[in-house]
């Protein structure tokens, strides 16, 4: 059993088992209900050949990325403000605790009305999906800064502004990082929902539209693509965090579990 502790061996074994079970399922239920691994691979080849798969992945990723960057860059300063200024926090916290329970997808119709059926409404949705997670995490981080650090800085002569820039922000970086990383996951969920309901392209559109042609194999291709881009973007963000933000205490590259 010692051999299973080797990450590579256990990972390869896991995927062999998954594919085996998948193949057995395909044999039992038939290719219309569960398209097998080979059939899925073949369909993926077709979709790549006509250019639609990469285009859909690109468009979904673009929407997530833009909304996520915008949302994070609004949320971090807001989280700092709410965390640092008590009077703002008193007003903001009840509102935050109310609105964060409304899933982004519930807003889709409203966003279509407000921002139109183009890219804007999707990006706004991702922005919304990102915003509250990052605010909540940043806020938690600000409140978790040890009093001794602030006291030490103050008695060393730091002004309130210097305390914010040189103590509160660096001490909160790990929390902000967790927030943006979690928000990435939520953003993918939101974009698929939005693309299913109101889009002409994207992975969500592919998955939803395939039902019209009863192409379950295309749905499989869409699902696997989603898993893969989610996995790789999370790894990339984790790696970047570890490289760039090491001194702030971000040491793990393991994906965050929800």
């Amino acid at each position: 059993m010692k051999i299973l502790k080797n990450k590579w061996i256990s990972n390869v074994l896991l995927w062999i088992m998954v594919i085996a079970v998948w193949q057995i399922g395909a044999v039992i239920y038939g290719p219309d209900v569960i398209p097998g691994p080979l059939a899925t691979l073949k369909s993926a080849g077709e979709l790549i050949a006509d250019g639609s798969l990469l285009h859909y992945i690109g468009i979904s990723f673009y929407r997530v990325f833009v909304g996520w960057v915008l949302g994070s860059s609004i949320a971090i300063p807001l989280g700092l403000l709410i965390g640092r200024v008590t009077i703002v926090r008193i007003f903001a916290e009840p509102f935050l605790n109310f609105i964060r329970f409304i899933p982004p997808i519930a807003f889709i119709t409203l966003f279509l009305v407000w921002f139109g059926i183009g890219e804007q409404s999707k990006i706004a949705l991702i922005l919304y999906a990102t915003l509250f997670i990052v605010i909540m995490n940043t806020l938690t981080g600000v409140l978790a800064v040890e009093e001794d650090k602030i006291r030490a800085a103050r008695s060393l002569g730091a002004s309130e502004w210097q305390i914010l820039v040189h103590i509160v922000i660096p001490a909160t970086v790990p929390y902000m990082f967790t927030g943006v990383r979690l928000a990435m996951g939520t953003s993918y969920m939101a974009i698929i929902g939005a693309e299913m309901i109101a889009a002409n392209e994207g992975l969500g559109y592919l998955i939803w539209n395939s039902r019209l042609f009863f192409r379950t194999d295309w749905i499989f291709v869409g699902l696997i693509s989603l898993g893969l881009i989610g996995f790789f973007t999370d790894r990339l963000v984790g790696l970047l965090g570890r490289r760039v933000l090491y001194r702030y205490g971000i040491v793990s590259s393991e994906p965050i579990r929800r």
Binding site: R151, L156, G157, I167
Partner: protein, 264 residues
């Protein structure tokens, strides 16, 4: 061996000082500190000795300006203490909570200088001096998480020395260290104090530590309503030897003081 340069403007005057945390409640206030009176001269090494929970940290935090007083007088030089100031530096008990883990040793030591926008060359010069003084040369590039408990306290010490405050407030700084490291740190602190002429107020609940370091020891009674009940002069020469007869005698006298209080 110099006994510190005594400057009258750093005299710390505490008179009839009270502290209560329940200001909002009407009626009788419950005091943590009640009627504290001490005068600490510039350049003096003063130890506040008392049992856990007696309010000695609260008193230190009030001198630091972190905690506001309820009634009475608390002055450094001629000025009433309202807020933290660069004349008073604090060495905290928990190095992990008070050091900046995203900065390396040198950057931690230079923090106060950077806030004052002192040039990089000058910062380097000052920080190198104090890093050397506390015996951390060779560790400048390390982060706090890579240091032992004793080394972290050295960083804290260098950080406040580099900022050139005349008063050092130390809140059980060696309480979390192992016995051997603690002994080394006590020796070095005593040496640094004699070399730099700072005023030190040192909080501890360790009688031997108090007698080893302090010129005077203020004994605090148990809370609530705790105050400085007695002040012992420690007339021994530095460096002190805890094995000496007079040393042990004074230790026993102070111990007897607490034993007496607790049997009541």
């Amino acid at each position: 061996m110099s006994l510190a340069i005594q400057s009258p403007e750093q005299t710390i005057t505490i008179a009839n000082l009270n502290k209560s945390y329940d200001q909002a409640v009407k009626g009788e206030l419950h005091y943590i500190l009640k009627d504290v009176n001490i005068t600490i001269k510039g350049g003096e090494f003063f130890v506040l000795l008392g049992p856990s929970g007696c309010g000695k940290s609260t008193l230190l935090n009030m001198i630091a300006g972190f905690v506001s007083k309820t009634e009475g007088q608390l002055k450094v030089g001629k000025h009433e203490v309202h807020k933290p100031g660069q004349d008073r530096a604090v060495v905290f008990q928990q190095a992990d909570a008070s050091l900046f883990p995203w900065l390396n040793v040198r950057e931690n030591v230079e923090f106060g200088l950077k806030m004052k926008k002192i040039s990089k060359a000058k910062r380097q010069e000052i920080s190198s001096h104090y890093i050397e003084l506390v015996g951390l040369n060779g560790h400048e590039k390390k982060f706090p998480r890579e240091l032992s408990g004793g080394m972290k306290q050295r960083v804290q010490l260098a950080r406040v020395l580099a900022n050139d405050s005349s008063i050092l407030l130390m809140d059980e700084p060696f309480g979390a260290l192992d016995a051997m490291t603690r002994r080394t740190m006590q020796k070095e602190l005593s040496h640094i104090w004699r070399k730099t002429g700072k005023t030190v107020i040192f909080v501890t609940h360790d009688i031997q530590e108090a007698v080893l370091l302090g010129q005077r020891i203020g004994i605090m009674s148990r809370g609530p309503n705790s105050k400085v009940t007695d002040i012992y002069d420690v007339p021994f020469q530095y460096p002190r030897d805890p094995g000496q007869q007079e040393f042990i005698k004074l230790e026993k006298t102070i111990q007897a003081h607490f034993d007496h209080e607790y049997t009541i």
